[in-house]
C-alpha cells in the first residue's frame, strides 16, 4: 500500500505539471489532433493500468475501471461539443454549430444500429443497457455474448434456412436434427439481437434531439453549461428520459420478451445436445438430475409433513391428550415442536 501510495503521489505531481502546461497552451493546442480529452484518457489509462495489478481488491479495481471509463467519456463529449460551439462562436452562428454537432452524433447512432462496429467504442456509454445484456448473456452461455453480435446477419437467414431445413440422413440423422435446431435458434437470436441494437440506436437519436432541445432552452433562459460534468449530467438526463419513454412501448416490451426467449431457445438447444453427449458417456444428464430433484423435493415435503404431525401428536400426549391450546392448534399443518434449544433446526441444507 505504501509503495502504491507514493506512486500515486508522484503521478499526481507529474499530472499537475502536465495539466498546467495544457492550460497555458490550451488555445494553441485545442485545434491539434491530440486533444486534451484524448490525452487525459491516455494518461488515466496508463496510470491505472500500471497501478491496477498492485491492487488486491477486485471490487476496487472494478470501481476504478468504471470511474476512469466514465471520466474519459464525459471529457471527450464535452470537448467535442464545446469545441464545435467555440469554433462557431467566431462566426456568430452557434445554432448551426449545434445542428452540425448533433447531426454527426445522430449519424453515428444510425451507423451503430446498422451494425457498424467502428462506432461501438465511441458509444460505449450509450451502449450501457446493451452492454448489460451482453454481460448477462455471456454469464449464462458457454460463449461470450459478443460472438453472436458481430456475426453478419444480412442474407444469412435465407442461406441458412436451406441448409438447416435439409432432412438428416443415415445413422446420425437425429443428431443432425439437433444441430439444425440449434443453428436455427442461433440465427433467430442473432436477428433479434440486431433488432434490439437497432431499437437502441433509434433511442440514441431521440436522446440527441432531447439534448439539442435542452441546450436551446438553456440559451433562451440565458444559462450557460460551463463544465464537462454539467454537460454529462444533462446528457444522462436526456438518455434516461428517452429510454423511459421508449421501453414502456408495446414495441419494446414485445422485443424484450422475444430477445430473452430467443436466448433461452439457444440455451435450451445447447442443453439438449449436452445431455445427449452426457448420456452417451453414461453420465447423469440434466434431465435425469431434474427428475431426481423433483422426487427429492416431494420426499422433503412428505418428511416435513410427517414430522409436523408427529410433533403435534407428541404434544398432545405430553398434555395428557387434552385439546391443543390455541397457540399450537394448526388446522392446516401441525405446529412446530416446543423446544427450548438456542437454535432449532430441521431439514437439510
Amino acid at each position: 500500500m505504501t509503495s502504491s501510495a507514493s506512486w500515486t503521489n508522484e503521478w499526481m505531481e507529474m499530472q499537475q505539471k502536465y495539466w498546467l502546461n495544457w492550460a497555458d497552451a490550451s488555445q494553441r493546442l485545442f485545434g491539434q489532433q491530440t486533444t486534451p480529452a484524448a490525452a487525459w484518457g491516455n494518461a488515466m489509462e496508463n496510470w491505472w493500468q500500471t497501478l491496477a495489478p498492485a491492487t488486491g481488491s477486485d471490487m476496487a479495481r472494478g470501481f476504478m475501471d468504471k470511474m476512469v471509463e466514465q471520466g474519459k467519456f464525459f471529457f471527450q463529449m464535452a470537448e467535442d461539443l464545446a469545441g464545435k460551439m467555440q469554433g462557431a462562436a467566431g462566426q456568430g452562428d452557434w445554432t448551426s454549430a449545434l445542428e452540425n454537432a448533433t447531426a454527426s452524433l445522430k449519424d453515428a447512432f444510425s451507423r451503430l444500429g446498422a451494425g457498424d462496429p467502428s462506432v461501438h467504442k465511441m458509444f460505449a456509454f450509450w451502449e450501457l443497457p446493451f452492454d448489460n445484456w451482453q454481460r448477462m448473456a455471456s454469464s449464462l452461455s458457454l460463449v461470450p455474448g459478443d460472438v453472436l453480435r458481430n456475426m453478419p446477419t444480412e442474407g444469412m437467414r435465407s442461406k441458412l434456412d436451406r441448409v438447416l431445413g435439409a432432412p438428416g440422413l443415415g445413422y446420425t440423422r437425429e443428431e443432425q436434427g439437433q444441430y439444425q435446431e440449434l443453428g436455427r435458434a442461433v440465427v433467430d437470436y442473432q436477428e433479434t439481437l440486431a433488432e434490439y441494437l437497432g431499437f437502441f440506436s433509434k433511442m440514441g437519436v431521440g436522446s440527441v434531439e432531447r439534448l439539442q432541445w435542452l441546450v436551446k432552452e438553456a440559451e433562451q433562459k440565458k444559462r450557460t453549461i460551463g463544465s464537462a460534468r454539467a454537460l454529462y449530467d444533462m446528457w444522462v438526463q436526456c438518455c434516461e428520459a428517452e429510454y423511459a419513454d421508449r421501453v414502456m412501448t408495446d414495441e419494446y416490451t414485445e422485443l424484450h420478451g422475444r430477445l430473452v426467449n430467443a436466448l433461452m431457445r439457444v440455451k435450451q438447444r445447447m442443453s439438449v445436445i449436452v445431455d445427449e453427449y452426457l448420456g452417451a458417456m453414461n453420465m447423469p444428464t440434466r434431465r435425469e438430475l431434474r427428475t431426481l430433484q423433483d422426487r427429492v423435493q416431494e420426499a422433503r415435503r412428505e418428511t416435513k409433513r410427517l414430522r409436523s404431525e408427529l410433533d403435534a401428536l407428541k404434544k398432545q400426549l405430553a398434555a395428557g391428550a387434552t385439546p391443543a391450546s390455541p397457540a399450537t392448534a394448526k388446522p392446516a399443518r401441525p405446529a412446530a415442536p416446543r423446544k427450548k434449544a438456542a437454535v432449532k433446526t430441521r431439514g437439510t441444507r
Binding site: 490550451s26 471490487m59 470511474m67 466514465q70 441546450v215 450557460t224 430473452v260 423435493q297 412446530a336 433446526t345
Partner: protein, 356 residues
C-alpha cells in the same frame, strides 16, 4: 453568450481535479476491502434447509418491548441485510427503538437442489413454520408481520390463508396491482415465455435479475453513479457506505425455478393477486380474507413498485382498519435514507404499539 461554453483551460482544470480525486481516492477504495453489512446483534433461533430465522437483540436502555413480536418477511430477490445495512441507516434498529421484538427471515441462497420449491413450500411451509415457532415461543395466537416488496405480497397471501395467526400486517413497497401503466418491470415480463425460461435455466440466475433491475435506469445506475462516486472518494466512511450498497445491489440470490414460474405467471402476467386467481397449496388467495389491521407504506418515487401498484390494496381487503403512509423517496431510500429513519420506522412502531 454560448449555451455551452467550456474553455479548453477550464476543461483541463476539470480533468485535473477529476484525476486528483481519483488519485487520492484510490487509497480509501483499497482500504475498504472488508465490507460488512447487517449491523444489529442477532441470534439465529430457527433453521430449516437454507432458511434462518433471526431474532434481534433489544438495544440497551430500550423501552419496554411490544408483547406481540414482529416478523419481517423479506423478498426472495436480493438479501435482507438491506434493512440493517449500516449503523445510522437501519430499519431494524429503528423498529427495535420503538420497542418491537423483531424477527427476520433470511431465505438463503437457493441452488439447483431447491429448484422445485414452490410458493406453497415457501408460504405454507417455511413461513408458516417460522410463524408457528414465534407464536409458540411467545405463547401467542397471533403475531405481527412486516412484508417488504415481494415479501409484502407473500405476507398478504399468508394473511389471507392464515388469518388466525396474524395480529397486524405492515406492507412496505408491496406490489398489489401488478399491471399499472407505469410498471416497467411488469411491461417487460408480459411477453416472456416463463415456462421456456424456467425449463431451460432451472433456477433463475441472479445475473438475470441484476440485469433487469439495472435496466430500469441503465445510464444512472451503471454510468453516472460512478462519476458521482468520484466526489465521495475522499471520505473513507462514504466510500464504505457506497461499497456496502453496491455489494447489496449485486448480491442477488438465484430464484427457485418453480416459485419464479408461479410468481411471474400468476402475479405479473395474470395480475392474480387482485383478480383473485392465485392458488397456493389448495388455497385460493382472496384479499378479502385479510381481516387484520393493515398499514400499507409506499414510496412516491419508487421505480420498481410504482405507488399505484401498492395503493391498489385500499378497499380490496376485508380489513376494517386500513392505513396508508406515503414516503417521499424511492424503493431503497425507504430503508436507508436519513428521512426514512426519522419518519418511516417511528410510524410503524407507533402504529403497531397502538394495536398490540
Amino acid at each position: 453568450m454560448l449555451p455551452i461554453e467550456i474553455r479548453p483551460d477550464q476543461l483541463a482544470d476539470e480533468m485535473l481535479q477529476y484525476s486528483q480525486k481519483l488519485g487520492k481516492g484510490i487509497e480509501n477504495l483499497l482500504n475498504a476491502s472488508e465490507i460488512d453489512a447487517g449491523v444489529s446483534p442477532k441470534t439465529a433461533v430457527y433453521r430449516e434447509d437454507k432458511l434462518a430465522l433471526y431474532r434481534y437483540e433489544a438495544p440497551a436502555g430500550a423501552k419496554q418491548r411490544n408483547a406481540v413480536p414482529l416478523l419481517v418477511v423479506y423478498a426472495l430477490v436480493n438479501r435482507p441485510y438491506m434493512t440493517d445495512i449500516q449503523e445510522d441507516r437501519s430499519t431494524i434498529k429503528g423498529l427495535l427503538a420503538t420497542g418491537q421484538d423483531v424477527y427476520l427471515i433470511d431465505w438463503g441462497y437457493p441452488d439447483q437442489a431447491d429448484r422445485s420449491l414452490t410458493l406453497d413450500d415457501y408460504l405454507n411451509g417455511y413461513l408458516d413454520r417460522c410463524v408457528d415457532f414465534i407464536r409458540e415461543a411467545h405463547g401467542l395466537d397471533r403475531i405481527n408481520l412486516l412484508g417488504i416488496c415481494q415479501g409484502g405480497a407473500f405476507s398478504l397471501c399468508y394473511s389471507a390463508m392464515h388469518p388466525g395467526k396474524v395480529q397486524n400486517l405492515v406492507t412496505m413497497v408491496t406490489p398489489v396491482d401488478f399491471k399499472t401503466a407505469d410498471n416497467m418491470l411488469s411491461g417487460w415480463v408480459q411477453h416472456l415465455d416463463v415456462d421456456l425460461l424456467v425449463d431451460t435455466m432451472g433456477n433463475i440466475p441472479g445475473e438475470l435479475l441484476n440485469w433487469t433491475f439495472l435496466s430500469l435506469k441503465p445510464f444512472s445506475l451503471t454510468g453516472q453513479k460512478y462519476v458521482n462516486m468520484v466526489d465521495l472518494l475522499d471520505d473513507p466512511e462514504k466510500v464504505k457506505n457506497f461499497l456496502r450498497m453496491e455489494k447489496w445491489i449485486f448480491d442477488s440470490p438465484d430464484q427457485a425455478g418453480e416459485t419464479f414460474r408461479q410468481f411471474i405467471k400468476d402475479f405479473y402476467q395474470k395480475n392474480g393477486l387482485i383478480e383473485g386467481t392465485v392458488h397456493i397449496g389448495g388455497h385460493r388467495i382472496d384479499l378479502k380474507d385479510v381481516t387484520c389491521p393493515i398499514l400499507n407504506i409506499y414510496a412516491l418515487q419508487d421505480h420498481l413498485v410504482p405507488p399505484n401498484s401498492s395503493k391498489a390494496l385500499k378497499g380490496r381487503t376485508g380489513s376494517k382498519d386500513y392505513t396508508e403512509l406515503a414516503f417521499p423517496g424511492g424503493h431503497i431510500g425507504i430503508y436507508v435514507s436519513g428521512k426514512a429513519q426519522k419518519e418511516v420506522t417511528p410510524s410503524i412502531g407507533r402504529w403497531l404499539n397502538e394495536r398490540s
